[in-house]
Amino acid sequence: MTKLTVSFAKIAASLLAVSSLATAPLSAQQRPNDRIPLTGALEALGSPRNPKVPILWDRWYDSDQLRELAERLARAHPDYVKVSSIGKSFGGKDIMVLTVTNFKVGDADKKPAMWIDGNIHSNEIQGSEFSIYTAWYLAEMAGQVAAVDTLLAQRTLYIAPTINPDARDHYLKMANTASSPRTGLMPRDNDGDGLIDEDGPNDLNGDGHITQMRRRNPNGRFIEAPYDRRILIPAPAGTKGEWDILGQEGYDADGDGNVNEDAIGGYDPNRNWPWRWQPQYVQGGSDWWPGSLPETRAVLNFVMKRDNIAGAQSYHNSGGMLLRGPGVPQDEYRPQDVAVFDQLGKVGEQILPGYRYLIVWKDLYTVWGGELDWFYGARGVLTFSNELFTPFLYFNRSGDDGPGGQEQSALFDRLLLLGEAFVPWTKVTHPQYGDIEVGGFKKNFGRVEPGFLLQSDAHRNMMFTLYQTSEMPLVEVDTITTRSMGGGLTEVTAIVINRKLAPTHTQQDVENKISRPDHVTLSGGKVIAAFRVTNPLQNSTEEQTLDPATIKLANIPGGGVPVTVRWIVEGSGPFTVTVDSPKGGSDSKRSR
């Protein structure tokens, strides 16, 4: 039985009464428009006035439904959303990517681009809804907010709502805990007995959740918590307990003496990436080798072909963190890049109350072969992983995610969810343990938002990601000045500039020559000589003797630092100067 206090039972009963009173006397068939949302009389700020694709943001969608939502968006907004598949999951599902940009302006695959993915860990589902929310918000707000139009004109977003569709569906549809499965569904022998996936948890009470097992025992070590009798806590030292906790719901299916020791899968998709990947004895769950999972490879292949990806976000849960690498201490991020991360992280903490900007190995734990480290290490891309949802959001209070958090969780469940988050203890007969009880928090509690907080958390996290998107590099030809040198020669000096926070090449990129240099090309005359002006005040220059019409720049830094280049040209103009950067876009200007 759910141990609701009397007062809350009353509230629940009265709410039920209200809702039955509100039920219209006519059936849905007689009132066919009941399910169409009303447009309202005044828009609520931050939301689309009249979305072409109405989507309810208070529920979790399986992989087919995510695809349906994406296709609806693409049909309703063909100029802003396209859906494609970047490969198949182990189970044969498409790994779907939404390309979101203003397709009428420029080439989507040449604009500086943001990569967003969600749900790499199967149970960490809300990144998928947040991803779809982002595509929906941008497409529906186009024309409503000028900043959205600018963003869509200048940038591309590649959004993969789930890069783990098989196990997402397993989490949603099968009996699971809030933390299972983390793995994908490729069969693995977890306990080394030569058998595969032979002893996973079992849903003994058939409620679709894997909760806890307990058994009364006069010599048990647990008691019911004084603050909430549903919760078991250790008996204080020197006192007698009344319960045993028998672990997660399940029995010993293979008769080896262990319970639930070889469930489906058996690896960690976020330890499978080819940057500082290490085998099992160093990194548990890394699987056979980097990229052994088809889902990992689909993303690798997609990203490798797109030098325009300049930023990335991989949504996880939970804990309220804006994580950056490195995942291991000796993988030092370059100081120039850390400065950009720090600035983005600082603004992120403002956008996301209760979230903290942290470093994986230092503040969390060591991760070998994590996705964000591959993006930064191998591709030089500034990447965050947001750990979505935090118990801070229960009562907008710090500390509720720390020790003693269970009491606050239980309180939140009673006060705001009326006890819905807890499966009441019920009696079952266990094949090995005999008469026991099963109960506990549901899988969709504790790591994911309850419905009424979902859209709010989606919006704030999206806004952090869009802030990063808008601060990706964007190159411009600032000025062109010409000076006649006599004898038909002209000195052409151009300033190119990137006013955004992020450089066209991170220092990691520069040092390892990951993406090609930026090109500044002069046309309109025969180029005799070309120089990078390393110090315009002292007029120090560095000559580029080969292919002088196109000056190569290893980087155009962020923050509006002007970069000066110069040519000596036969001819008097006008000349056109074009800057073309793999991650910073392109721009052209003509001299007067």
């Binding site: 080394g192 007995d193 030569g194 293979d254 008769g255 080896d256 003496g257 080819p274 940057w275 990947w277 290490q278 085998p279 099992q280 004895y281 160093v282 990194q283 548990g284 056979w288 080798w289 980097p290 990229g291 690798l300 490798m304 291991v328 201490p329 000796q330 734990y365 060591t366 070998w368 290490g377 191998a378 390892n512 020559k513 990951i514 090609r516 240099p517 003797t545 080969l546 292919d547």
Partner: protein
């Protein structure tokens, strides 16, 4: 002997370090490329050879394609073993050849190993019993795209497959490869007379180039480059030629990121992926023999305890990966080395440490299997040179050119066509400068004349068979069945490894994918286990009779029986039925 260092350099760079000058040696210039590969099998012939072996020995051989190279060439694995697919259930030796593409001799040796084994099966009882008990998986040509360069019209030691690549990361792919300036069919070295150069022709041995030793007042005279033009005019020569990923640099252990030929990420090359998958498909691979540049049979690997991150012992999340083999595995490498020297008679040879991203060390460090590597062939020792010019040669230890001089002496005696005298060429990138092309032909010090292949094949076949004889073997001994009381029995059994190698190496006991010995105890109706486990996994057993004792207490009728079995894919299965009666 050229050092192994050149093997790690991008294609074309090798000639730099073995560059030889034969000042004034009379020699006619002619295209010699084909003579080096004479008697070797290009891809199409290799495939038809494998196919005809399979057709004539269907009872022993099966062939499977494990990858298609980017150049459209199949990579095959040949299974040797009797009894059809039952062979996949037996302990197996994996042989991988030619992951390092220029090392074509390894393919020839591998093919001969297959041929020798199938032809010996009917005649040699020891071999027959081996092939009835164990299985061999042989990948004779792991890098067919690169190997095919050996049969081209212009030779350079190409390591990469046919995937296009941007080795110099300038946004263009394969735009500046070497060029055969003197038309001899070899890409060798190119020296440019230049007062700013840092190279000189070696004064003692008139043939070799070396760095000027400014501490001894030597002044550089030449720039030394690989033979070719600066096709893309970027100031670098031959820095991005045809050739993508070096299969022997594309494995995850010690992988080198951003290398010119290491690929986009570990196992990005289909050939490497296909080899890796063998370990998923065949859990029964017990050990591996890799024919390639990394050699741990002349000088066996010896383990070291290297402090990891923060001074912690390596091999954990906090401390990072192992960078040295484990001392507990020393005996196995040492014995394999003794067996190698005895069975091949190859006493002196090269020593190659672990490479970066090479297949040999990956099999040990990541798949946890004992892995042995041989360079297969190297230029043999030559009688000491007693001429006056040699008397000035510095002591071998102090002479950086010692191995080059040794190789050169063998080439002079056996393969003069592989020595290209410095010849002046007109070079468009160096107008008005003296440019000469010369040095040692590619491949010549890696691959022997074809006349030696049969003898090499026989030696390595012998060694591989002896190696297979060292595999772990399980024995199950029931020590006692004791009547404890009414219907109650105490059973003691020993599980022993009577082979030489352990049931798992020390690295294997850490790696996830190599399986432990599993012991099952099956009761029959009316029996109950009072103590002991129905299933348990054993810690690795070292060989030579090492055993572990297991005990069960069973309640059951006298005369009824239980079944005990032990095994793992890498050691095979043994089982015994035990009757409950005192003995």
């Amino acid at each position: 002997m050229p050092s192994l260092l050149p093997l790690r350099l991008p294609a074309g760079a090798c000639a730099l370090l073995t560059a030889a000058a034969l000042a004034g040696a009379p020699r006619a210039l002619s295209a010699q490329a084909s003579s080096l590969s004479a008697g070797y099998l290009p891809h199409a012939k290799l495939v038809s050879t494998i196919d005809s072996l399979r057709r004539t020995n269907p009872q022993l051989l099966s062939v499977r394609e494990i990858a298609q190279s980017p150049g459209g060439r199949a990579v095959h694995v040949v299974r040797i073993g009797s009894g059809g697919d039952a062979a996949d259930q037996r302990p197996a030796v994996l042989v991988v050849a030619n992951a390092y593409g220029p090392h074509v001799v390894s393919s020839e040796v591998a093919i001969r190993m297959i041929r020798n084994m199938v032809s010996g099966y009917g005649r040699d009882t020891a071999l027959k019993s081996l092939l009835d008990r164990q299985t061999f998986y042989v990948v004779p040509r792991a890098n067919p795209d690169a190997a095919e360069a050996f049969f081209g019209s212009v030779l350079y030691e190409r390591t990469g497959n046919n995937e296009s690549s941007d080795s110099d990361r300038d946004g263009k792919t394969d735009e500046d490869g070497p060029n055969d300036l003197n038309g001899d069919g070899f890409i060798t070295a190119m020296r440019v007379t230049d007062p700013a150069g840092t190279w000189i022709a070696d004064s003692i041995n008139p043939v070799l180039m070396r760095r000027a030793d400014v501490s001894r007042g030597e002044r550089g005279r030449y720039r030394l480059l690989t033979e070719g033009r600066d096709v893309d005019k970027d100031g670098e020569f031959n820095e991005d030629g045809a050739g993508g990923t070096d299969i022997n640099a594309n494995f995850p252990n010690f992988y080198e990121y951003f290398g010119a030929t290491t690929g986009n990420w570990p196992l990005s090359a289909p050939e490497a992926w296909g080899i890796a998958e063998l370990f998923q498909q065949h859990q029964n691979i017990t050990i591996a023999y890799v024919l390639g540049p990394q050699d741990n049979l002349n000088t066996p690997w010896t383990g070291r305890r290297v402090p990891g991150i923060g001074g912690l012992p390596q091999g954990s999340s906090a401390s990072g990966p192992f960078t040295a083999t484990l001392p507990e595995d020393d005996p196995w490498f040492a014995e394999a080395s003794r067996v190698f020297k005895r069975s091949t008679g190859l006493a002196r040879g090269v020593t190659g440490g672990e490479g970066k991203g090479d297949v040999l060390s990956w099999i040990y460090y990541h798949m946890g299997r004992l892995a042995f590597g041989s360079r297969t062939w190297w230029t043999p020792d030559m009688p000491a040179d007693t001429t006056r010019r040699a008397s000035a040669t510095p002591a071998a230890g102090a002479d950086p050119l010692a191995s080059d001089r040794q190789a050169l002496r063998w080439l002079e005696a056996n393969r003069r066509d592989a020595i290209v005298p410095w010849t002046r060429v007109e070079h468009p990138d160096f107008p008005g400068q003296v440019v000469e092309v010369g040095g040692i032909a590619p491949y010549a010090t890696l691959n022997p004349p074809a006349s030696e292949l049969d003898s090499l094949g026989a030696k390595h076949t012998r060694f591989t068979q002896e190696l297979a004889g060292l595999l772990p073997r399980l024995e199950l001994r029931v020590a006692s069945v004791e009547a404890v009381g009414t219907r109650t029995w105490r059973i003691k059994a020993h599980v022993a490894n009577t082979g030489f190698f352990p049931t798992l190496s020390s690295m294997g006991s850490r790696a996830r994918w190599a399986q432990r010995v599993r012991v099952d105890f099956k009761t029959s109706a009316g029996q109950e286990i009072a103590s002991g486990r129905t299933m348990q996994l054993l810690n690795p057993l070292r060989g030579s009779g090492t055993s572990t004792e297991l005990t069960w207490v069973v309640v059951g009728a006298a005369g009824s029986s239980v079944t005990l079995s032990a095994g793992s894919p890498v050691v095979g299965e043994v089982s015994e039925t035990i009757t409950l009666r005192a003995r």
